[in-house]
Amino acid sequence: MPSRSKRRVSKKILEHELVPKHEVLSFEEAVEVLRKLGVPPSRLPAISVNDPVVQLIGAKPGDIIKITRKSPTAGEAVYYRIVVAF
């Protein structure tokens, strides 16, 4: 339901050091992640399809995105988010 006019987002933002790595999980991977966490997809933190990075990597509502961030405590921290239509 993205009614808003599609914004042009430069590919360059993916290279910015403050933008962490986003990957779309395949269906199998997504199922595995949800099984491991023991949650329905709706319990994951949401991310909007209108998010610039989500648009760039071409994720669709319902996809699960794996975000690998730098962390001051753990070095690297993995987060999963579900793409929502809104």
């Binding site: 966490l37 709706s42 319990r43 933190p45 949401a46 962390s71 753990a74 921290a77 999963y80 809104f86």
Partner: protein
């Protein structure tokens, strides 16, 4: 009577529909008068007896109960014309904007609306939060359509003025929409459209938000109070209702008599405003209902709102029993786990002790002692009959004591060893409430071991603290296992100890462990006795001509036998700095196998809030219990040490020789000369500006820097001339109290006074005080204070110092209120985040917040200042050759 119990599964909020209001009403109010001339309530008035019995002895005409059993009954006012209600009107506005003005269908093409309905359905199931923002989007999109896709009618812009006024911008001009028209439109909106606009048609049809009938609450909600004079004083709500009824009757009268349209209109608007004020008397654009005296009435919203409102004042915050409050005073002799409780208080606070075969004799003694002799009891609850016997009024305590049997409950006085909760406001972190063991004492104050001051941020200048008694075995056990002081030595905020020495403990520890101090046998015994040491005295460090022990030997007796530690002492700074054991200053702590081999104990060894100090490592590696043992023993001899030696301050401690003062004079002169040269340069326009700054700013910055340098140098001179065993200097160096800056202010000079990071510049026109010339840029004209506390300040200097001092006071006042509010909001936002058993952090709904707590799953309480392992310590530990 059987009692059925249910568990609430959900709560649904909706709009009370008019037919429901009429159905539950027991009176229709049509008269504004309260009492007839004979003093009886007016039937059909706001004091009608059908609102429920509230007078003693009165029988309710509706339910037949007296006032203790009558629940109170609602009435109603049939409004002459429908009226818009505040707050609801925001929703009315949304519906009006999104629906057609002629056919009342949602302003979206059918297919689009259907698609949105489907999306909304899934969103409501899975992401209720997102459903809210989706509804907003639906409303926005529908409002954008200027032609109805269903009937083709042209739509006009609707202007909404909070709280209750609507205008429609028609081609012929702006027209006010009356509540009647609005209600007509809302009535026609279909249920499926209502749903799409975010309302539940079953529980909140939009037209219900336009009132045609107003509920009148029962008298129990607005009780009249009888004054001593016998006069009745009515509740604010009743006053507000009287106004509404009067206005409603006036409007009815106008309609009946076909009064001119403008009069009807005005009366209608007035009624609307009164009803709005009855709901919330602080609305903008609505007139305020007032008492005769001019005081605004407290209407419905005012009862709920704010700190003393129903929610924050009565529901979130309640008053508690079994608690006590009094002044605190220090007692370094009791354990850190204890709190001294005055006998008077111990005889009021009670614990319900269940009588068992094991304690029945003890219980009997307590009952025999009665309520006025400690340790006694105040009540007995007999298990057999369930009756509560008040010992104050019971004649035969002896007989009662004999009749005790297992299962009875004795409300006994607090006794030594009971666990209680102790608290000091503001409760900023979880260590603001800790569990203590009671120690009943004479006197009227709570006694607290000064080592436990840091978590409470308490001192003894008149602070008061609260004490609460857990009233069940479970509560007491929880307090003991989780909240007990010794289990909170380490703070979960950062890896470090929050309980530990401050002030005198630190000076004392330093004076004890400093290498110039030797102790005779008598002194050693005295110190060890204070610490409660029961063991062998070690071999003296010096055997001949007299036996002497070092303080380090005494301290070592209390360290764990296999304890190793290495680190810098607090005094390890400036000329005493060194970073390995190759240290002649005694400022590097080395502990091997539980023996303090070198270095002094100061803030960095025994202090509170010093991560990775000796105390912290012991608490971490040897357990809280061991740390408590140390805090309860050797720390007492630190204090005794001070009592033996004395620690005080005299004028001579803050004085330096004449040569030193001359030296400082010279420094001042140099600095002044340089600054005057800078000013001269600036006046000639030749001053080299700092890049990006104006010449004025550059001069200011340069002067401030130069003056700061001057202060630094002067402080250095002063400190260099100080006797290292000067008591003030000891306190500053060991971290007990004060700093070298403070000493320099006493001994050398106060230095430049600043307000808002700048030299003081405000006051008179172009000058700070009339003592100076206009535009004088010299140091002493702009807040430079040459004087010191030892030799005194000039009047002008006092003024500058006061100005800078005031800024500090204002800053603390502002900072505490702002950070307090920020904290409150953060707490509420985070309060239901919880670390689950799988290590994830989730909220109350089960939404994932973090996959691992803190991303690494580490509990900061169990770390070395944030590091889960101290690798250096581990290497050291395992590479040592035995």
């Amino acid at each position: 009577m059987s009692v059925e119990s249910y568990i609430l599964s959900k709560i649904k909020f909706g709009v009370l529909p008019p037919h429901e209001i009429s159905r539950m009403a027991r009176v229709t109010v049509t008269r504004a008068e309260l009492y007839e001339s004979d003093g009886t309530p007016v039937m059909g008035g706001p004091r009608d007896p059908h609102f429920g019995a509230i007078e003693p002895g009165e029988v309710c005409p509706v339910c037949g109960n007296r006032r203790d059993a009558c629940p109170g009954h609602f009435g109603k006012i049939d409004l002459a014309r429908p009226v818009l209600l505040p707050y609801y009107s925001d929703h009315v506005n949304a519906v009006l904007q999104a629906t057609c003005r002629s056919c009342s269908r949602i302003l979206l093409p059918e297919e689009q609306a259907n698609r949105m309905r489907r999306i909304l359905k899934t969103l409501k199931e899975k992401w209720p939060r997102l459903a809210q923002s989706f509804i907003k989007e639906v409303r926005k999109q529908a409002a954008q359509n200027s032609v109805c896709p269903h009937c083709g009618a042209r739509q006009y812009k609707i202007r909404y003025i909070r709280p209750v006024i609507f205008y429609e911008e028609r081609p012929e001009g702006e027209v006010r929409l009356t509540p009647i028209e609005i209600r007509d439109r809302l009535e026609k909106v279909r249920n499926e459209d209502v749903e799409l606009l975010g309302l539940d048609p079953e529980y909140s049809r939009p037209e219900w938000m336009v009132a045609t009938v107003l509920p009148v609450p029962p008298l129990a909600i607005r009780p009249p109070i009888t004054l001593e004079t016998g006069l009745k004083s009515e509740d604010d709500l009743t006053h507000a209702l009287v106004e509404i009824i009067r206005q409603n009757e006036r409007l009815k009268h106008y309609l009946r008599t076909s009064a001119p349209e403008t009069m009807v209109e005005d009366a209608w608007i007035a009624l609307q405003h009164m009803i709005a004020a009855y709901i919330d008397n602080e609305l903008p654009n609505v007139y305020v209902l007032q008492h005769r005296g001019g005081r605004p009435l407290k209407t419905l919203a005012q009862r709920l709102k704010g700190k003393e409102g129903r929610l924050r004042g009565n529901l979130s915050g309640k008053r508690v029993n079994y608690s006590a409050r009094t002044v605190i005073s220090p007692d370094s002799e009791i354990s850190i786990n204890e709190v001294g409780v005055p006998k008077e208080i111990a005889m009021i606070l009670t614990y319900p002790m269940r009588v068992t075969l094991e304690n029945i004799e003890e219980a009997r003694k307590l009952v025999l002692n009665g309520p006025y002799k400690w340790p006694g009891a105040t009540y007995v609850i007999k298990a057999r009959t369930g009756t509560k016997i008040d010992l104050r009024y019971h004649k035969n305590h002896k007989q009662l004591a004999e009749s005790l049997e297992p299962g009875d409950i004795v409300e006994r006085h607090l006794v030594d060893g009971d666990i209680v909760l102790f608290n000091r406001q503001p409760s900023l972190h979880r260590m603001s409430i800790l569990g203590h063991r009671v120690r009943v004492m004479p006197g009227k104050t709570f006694r607290l071991n000064p080592l436990v001051c840091p978590p409470y941020n308490a001192d003894f200048d008149g602070d008061e603290m609260n004490l609460h008694v857990p009233r069940s075995e479970e509560a007491a056990a929880e307090a003991e296992e989780i909240l007990l002081v010794e289990r909170n030595i380490k703070t979960p905020r950062y890896g470090g100890p929050i309980i530990g020495g401050r002030q005198d403990y630190i000076s004392g520890a330093y004076l004890m462990t400093v290498k110039t101090r030797l102790f005779t046998k008598e002194e050693v015994l005295e110190l060890l006795a204070k610490a409660g040491y029961k063991g062998e005295i070690p071999e003296p460090a010096i055997l001949y001509p007299k036996e002497y022990w070092t303080g380090k030997q005494i301290v070592s007796l209390f360290l764990p036998e296999d304890f190793n530690y290495e680190g810098r002492a607090k005094i390890n700074a400036g000329p005493l700095a060194c970073d390995s054991y190759d240290c002649f200053n005694d400022s590097y702590i080395a502990i091997r196998d539980g023996k303090l081999l070198m270095g002094v104990f100061d803030k960095n060894a025994i202090g509170a809030e010093q991560p990775n100090n000796v105390l912290h490592i012991i608490a971490l590696e040897y357990g809280d219990d061991k740390a408590r043992e140390i805090l309860d023993s050797i720390y007492k001899s630190y204090i005794r040490m001070l009592e033996l030696r004395g620690l005080t301050l005299s004028l001579s401690d803050v004085d330096i020789p004449v040569e030193a003062r001359r030296e400082i004079d010279k420094l001042v002169e140099e600095a002044k000369k340089e600054i005057m040269e800078m000013i001269e340069l600036y006046k000639q326009g030749k001053l080299e500006p700092i890049p990006g700054r104006t010449p004025e700013d550059s001069l200011e910055i340069k002067i401030i820097n130069r003056l700061q340098e001057l202060f630094r140098k002067a402080a250095e001179v002063a400190v260099n001339y100080m006797d290292p065993f000067n008591d003030v200097f000891i306190m500053a160096r060991t971290g007990a109290r004060g700093s070298e800056t403070n000493i320099a202010q006493m001994v050398a000079m106060l230095g430049q006074q600043v307000v808002r990071g700048k030299r003081i510049h405000r006051g008179y026109r172009n000058r700070t005080l009339p003592h100076f010339k206009w535009g004088d840029l010299a140091p002493e004209a702009k807040g430079f204070v040459r004087g010191n506390f030892r030799y005194g300040l000039r009047p002008v200097e006092v003024f500058f110092h006061a100005a800078a001092g005031r800024e500090g006071l204002v800053d603390t006042a502002v900072k505490t209120s702002q950070s307090g509010y920020m904290q409150r909001r953060l707490m509420h936002a985070l309060s239901d985040a919880l670390v689950m058993h799988d290590g994830t952090v989730r909220d109350a709904y089960g939404n994932l917040i973090q996959l691992r707590y803190g991303e690494d799953g580490v509990d900061p309480m169990k770390t070395y200042h944030g590091d889960p392992v101290d690798i250096d310590r581990l290497i050291e530990k395992y590479s040592r050759v035995k």
